[in-house]
Amino acid sequence: MRKTANQPDVAGNWDTLVLGIGNLLWADEGFGVRAVEHLNVLYTFPDDTRLMDGGTQGIFLLPWVRGARRLLIFDAIDFGLAPATLKVIRGNDVPRYMGAKKVSMHQAGFQEVLSSAQLSGEFPEELVLIGVQPEVLNDYGGSLTENVRRQLDPAVDIACEVLRDWGVDVQPRPQPLPADELMSPGALDISDYENGRPVVDGPSR
């Protein structure tokens, strides 16, 4: 049990938003969140750069996306690539679509957020998506597969390159990240999360 950072950070406009999205309870679906956490562990950033664990909040992420001038996204992508392949997608090539036939707000995926931002007239000037093709998704309570986990370092390297191209001052952390500055509550940190996984019988998880 670790404490978490408690710095109210009232939604404002950021110059640069680095957003990890996905569900860390579903194996490789957690890639985006784990990648932004990994970035936070290794590097420091200026105050106008915000790192965010966006989870699966869908349309509720819209206010932050609209407030960002530059947006870097980590996510699992389905581009029909070989499992664990990294892919960088830029600008207009980042997919965005929405549909009125969705049944639940949960289906308002991130593409809808981008599309709504565009409709609202507040769309990031720069947009880069660093994606990974997942290997396993339907392992509830599971963590990243080995192959996808190996892409965390390369993904973070690409992110640093992109951010430095944007002129963001990215610096390696001089000291290890203190436990109370983790992005998520400690129990969700990848090692605690994996070590605490219950052993439960059942044919499919």
Partner: protein, 597 residues
Amino acid sequence: MTEIVTPNGFTLDDAGQRVVVDPICRIEGHLRIEVNVDDDNIIRNAVSTGNMWRGLEVILKGRDPRDAWAFTERICGVCTGVHALLSCRAVEDALAIEIPKNANSIRNLMMLAQYTQDHLVHFYHLHALDWVDVVSALSADPRATSELQQSISNWPKSSPGYFRDVQNKIKRFVESGQLGPFANAYWGSPAYKLPPEANLMAVTHYLEALDFQKEIVKIHTIFGGRNPHPNWLVGGMPCSINVNETGATGAINMAWLNQVSDIINASIDFIDQVYIPDLKAIASFYTDWTFGGGLSGKNVMSYGEFPALANNYTNESWMLPNGAILNGDLSTVYDVDPRDPEQIQEFVTHSWYSYPNPDQGLHPWDGVTVPNFELGPNLKGTKTNIEAIDEQAKYSWLKAPRWRGNAMEVGPLARFLVAYARGHEEVKELVDSTLTDLGLPITALFSTLGRTAARGLECSWSAHKMRGVFDDMMANIKAGDVSTANMEKWEPATWPKDTKGVGIGEAPRGALGHWVHIKDTKLENYQAVVPTTWNASPRDSQGNIGAYEAALLGTPMADPAQPLEILRTIHSFDPCLACASHVMSPDGQELAVVKIR
């Protein structure tokens, strides 16, 4: 089967053409609806198949109970704070931890803000487009829209020029070839009844709602410390309050509290001057669309929410009361006790799970989640490509929760009916005045539109209630009480060896309960029964159908190939599917596929 009457009084007939609406979610967690329509395209049988729940014990068993909220916050994208709150309530109940008054107020404010935001976003982003035709809005006369707007509220954004600008903006967006939010719909369907000027007004407010959403989320950031996943704490709230100076970093200060106050005022304005007038205007064109009532006129239930008194989760304290109504008898409201093993039980006769005794219900404290995926003999298609499910057998990943054996509808309409029947003054006033304005009897509430109206009225109620809760909290703080957490029983050494607890409350979309069993300071069992499990429930051992299935029966479809009416009714429940899927793909494939067989 051809025709059967269920114990809860619905006639099912599966003789006619089968229509399948199957939203595609690539992982688990989708909802599939199959209906049979008769020769007049009226729905005569409905089957709700859900795949959203795998049992929390699968991820929580053996973990620290103080961490449970953080995991439950991740099981669902939209209900994050609600799960976290009820997890804290359940663990506090098990460990007999009392939270301070300010913590209770802050939790109430966060929940009220959640209701306000959720209802608003649900209406404009998900549900309005079931009633509002965007393409028709493009042909509206902005002057007529302006006149309409000025006739229904004092909202300042009402000039013809303003509506013309918005119309042009949407035209440009549509002409850019992507339709954006408006792709994949049934524009032009005869099921749309609004004139073009009303459509333009509603679409304009869709855009304004996008802007407004930026404000309301700040409440969660201020009190939760972070967003989009606010921090919670067993024993209170993790924020400290410092109103006298600006020194302590991270503490809630006067500037932030003033900001919360401003946001509350802005919320009230937007809801009362935009959302509610829109709702009434739209409803006035659909008063003859009386379908979708289902269980609402029979069995509804609310656990109660917003404790006025810290640590008191009874009707003495709930601002929206606990209660159950059976058979539409508003003169008798029963108390719902989440601890009584005879009251809340889950059945798996038609669910893909195994129980030791297959047809007997289990109370959540005794709940088990053992998957058992098997398909019935009357299935059409194959295991991997189901054309029509066999609802006589197991057919859903949802269990079937029941209250004293009865299928219950939960959600804003259920809460308002329980409150109304209990003589809740504020709710009676809101409901009665709205019905009077629209010239409708109370029975009009038992419908899809009634559900949608109740959500809007509750949104307004919530925003106004934030004002009162905030003012009470400020008075308490000014009186010198700045305590936000009780850490007396933080250390596991202070806990009983074996203890159980329950946290009940109301998520925006309905009754939510977390049941926890703590043994040797670790979680032994953890069960949650979520609102959509009540509403989207499959049949039970007696054959009672759940709220979704019931609500679809008797609805005429203009065109079964365009199941707008099905989506309209299902959306009115604000379905919450733990849809983990949002994986990006290169092309905008449809989310919902309609198949007719």
